[in-house]
């Protein structure tokens, strides 16, 4: 076969990486200390593709060759596709070239496994090292950790990258065994644990001495495929809660299963992929991270799956009607956050504004509260602005998103602009 040009390789390797959902480039604030680039605290989008997704990072595979054969992956060994590989220097050159033109925030480097996990990790580290040391690049770098690689390599990678991630992909040991037989749960969890420990430990050390280089300052993330295996939302949400709590996980991405391979081990998906479910999981995740909800408040053994017709916050409110209506001029921030239609920003603005005087219902709308939803759950100066009491029978119907209503398929993005998302799931060409 004729040698491919750099442009042709780029096309193939971008193709293999595009299904990965995590495109957030936020959360790191690396300063430019001589050289080029910095990482912006809140993410920046540089363009939007024809499917409406934000382009923030150069998202590519180092190679689409792989010694493994995961059922859900386009790059698996048994697929008959053209395999290419970039040298670490080429990866660095592409990144710098795009970065200097302000086309990207940085690099998201993933890969198939060539030869063995250690060798593959060495290549990833080398690409990152060239960027940081030779190009003196201070922009954002997110690199995938290869499961099964030596943990010392994980340590080296995290000193160079802003974020590292190991994709868990399947929520349980059994599913993993069935669908990704080459990767054990241990091979995935061990580097995650190590990363979590190093993040916490390095933060402590850096309080004493700023000379110690940070370790993955933008934290670690992971991705779970939803719907390729039989786990309930309760299992998935509890797993996520555990990852946030114990492994210093910054972000869990959920990805509705879309088949790219035919394989008898995979469920047959009829019609559209479980995008609504994915959306609800993101909402639940958001509620746990920013609104102070515990997993057990959203789901339990009796109701192990999220209501597809209703957002989980409204669902919680309807199960806890004894708390409503709340008087917005008195309610503490924690409770304001639990009102459907009041987001983090508007809750904070309410708390700020009411110090300057009693707020009326009209004031609330001006402060950004979505009154269409909130009015059933609040009073302002004792006034109630809805025609239905919170415990009225028809309320659930009013809060239900009508099937015709357009749901915007994006992760709820309150804080980082760069997380406009992939509804597309990830049957990804990487780990």
């Amino acid at each position: 076969m004729p040698e491919l040009t750099l442009a042709e390789k780029l096309e193939i390797l971008a193709d293999g990486a595009k299904y990965d959902v995590s495109c957030a480039s936020s959360g790191s604030s690396r300063r430019n200390k001589g050289g080029i680039g910095n990482a912006a605290q809140c993410g920046i989008c540089h363009s939007w593709t024809a499917d409406g997704r934000c382009v923030s990072l150069l998202k590519i595979l180092l190679t689409n060759a792989c010694i493994y054969d995961c059922a859900y992956c386009v790059n698996r060994r048994s697929n008959d596709t053209r395999r290419v590989i970039l040298t670490p220097a080429e990866v660095a050159e592409l990144t710098i070239g795009f970065y200097r033109r302000n086309a990207i925030e940085g690099l998201f480097l993933s890969t198939g496994v060539v030869k063995d996990p250690d060798h593959t990790m060495e290549l990833l580290i080398e690409a990152t090292r060239i960027l940081r040391e030779e190009h003196r690049f201070n922009g954002y770098i997110h690199v995938k950790v290869v499961p099964g690689a030596d943990l010392l390599l994980v340590d080296r990678l995290g000193r160079l990258a802003d974020r590292v991630s190991v994709n868990m992909e399947l929520p349980s040991r059994e599913s993993l065994k069935l669908l990704a037989p080459d990767k054990s749960r241990e091979a995935i969890v061990a580097p995650m644990k190590r990363v979590g420990e190093l993040i916490v430990q390095t933060k402590e050390e850096r309080k004493v001495s700023r000379k110690i280089p940070p370790f993955a300052p933008a934290g670690q993330s992971t991705q779970l495929i939803v719907g390729a295996s039989g786990e309930s939302d309760l299992q998935i949400v509890s797993l996520a809660a555990g990852l946030y709590g114990r492994l210093a996980m910054k972000r869990v991405y959920y990805s509705a299963f879309i088949p790219v391979n035919t394989d008898e081990r995979l469920p047959t998906v009829i019609g559209t992929p479980p995008l609504v479910r994915e959306h609800r999981l993101y909402q639940a995740d958001w509620l746990m991270r920013y609104y102070g909800f515990a997993a057990g408040e959203l789901l339990d053994e009796e109701r192990p799956n999220l209501d597809l017709a209703l957002d989980p916050k409204a669902g919680w409110a309807l199960r806890n009607l004894h708390l409503f209506p709340l008087e917005v001029n008195r309610a503490p921030l924690e409770l304001l956050l639990r009102v459907p239609g009041i987001g983090v920003r508007s809750a904070q603005r309410i708390v700020g504004a009411r110090r300057g005087g009693h707020l009326s219902l009209d004031d609330l709308a001006r402060l950004g509260v979505v009154m269409k939803r909130a009015r059933y759950f609040i009073t302002a100066r004792g006034r109630f602005g809805a025609d239905l009491a919170p415990d009225a029978a028809g309320l659930r119907l009013r809060l239900t998103e009508r099937a015709t209503a357009k749901i915007r398929w994006s992760q709820p993005s309150l804080f980082d602009a760069a997380t406009a998302i992939d509804i597309q799931s990830s049957i990804t060409g990487e780990l």
Binding site: I44, C45, R355
Partner: protein, 247 residues
């Protein structure tokens, strides 16, 4: 009474200072020709007085909470006609109420200014991503953009920190304004700039343009084709200077 100033922030503050000294409430503060405004009140030209402006600025920084100062700066860079008088009322209220001002988020003099600042802030944030440099012969990096608001000085610090080793120019051809960065002194400055005729590009530019266009095309997922969502996130008016849309 209409106060006319030169369009600069210092000029605006001079006008505010003047109004405060005399205890007048102007009907408008503007840098435009009054007939464009359809106003027939008496017009007074205000000369920009740096000392007076600075004095007022210090008073504002002492009295208003820091968030309010940022709001003021951003709202001033909006291109909304009549913004100055909104800012004037905002300042009057802020200077009269001092520390209590921070909590007056729902006040009728605060909301419109906050909205202007928010629109400008959003556009400035958006353009941190949409400014696109091309390397010119001789090594200078040049970017053109056509934002709704005058955001050049608001985004310049971001690019100065990020591309500290590049000589760069960000140009707003519609307004004939630019910011220029000098890496040797690590400083940026505003200047007026007119470009006539095509710019000579450096040798590597074609290659990277091609690489970027191909990369961009591959990123979209065919089954998810959704130009409506794309337009919602990136309206057509912002695409003018992006190579991925120039073909």
């Amino acid at each position: 009474m209409i106060l006319r100033y030169d369009g600069t922030f210092a000029g605006f503050l001079s006008a505010v200072a003047l109004a405060r000294e005399r205890g007048i409430k102007p009907e408008a503060i503007t840098d435009r020709e009054p007939e464009q405004q359809g106003l027939f009140a008496a017009i007074e030209e205000v000369a920009t007085d740096r000392d007076r402006a600075e004095e007022l600025y210090r008073l504002i920084s002492r009295t208003l909470p820091s968030g309010a100062l940022q709001t003021l700066r951003y709202a001033f860079h909006s291109c909304e006609p009549g913004r100055e008088i909104l800012l004037f009322r905002y300042l009057e209220l802020g200077l009269a109420t001092g520390p209590r001002f921070g909590a007056m988020l729902a006040h009728e003099a605060v909301i419109p200014v906050w909205k202007l600042a928010r629109a400008v802030g959003r556009e400035a944030h958006r353009y941190k991503g949409l400014v696109r440099f091309q390397q010119l012969e001789g090594g200078v990096w040049y970017a053109a953009m056509e934002p709704d608001h005058r955001i050049l000085p608001l985004i310049a610090p971001h690019f100065a920190a990020r591309f500290a080793d590049q000589r760069w120019i960000i140009h707003d051809p519609r307004r004939g304004e630019a910011v220029v960065f000098d890496p040797a002194r690590r400083k940026w400055a505003e200047t007026s700039l007119e470009v006539t005729g095509p710019l000579p590009l450096s040798a590597g530019e074609e290659l990277f343009r091609d690489l970027w266009q191909r990369y961009f095309d591959r990123l979209a997922i065919a089954e998810r084709h959704n130009p409506k969502l794309q337009r919602q996130n990136l309206p057509l008016k912002h695409r003018g200077h992006l190579p991925e849309f120039e073909r």
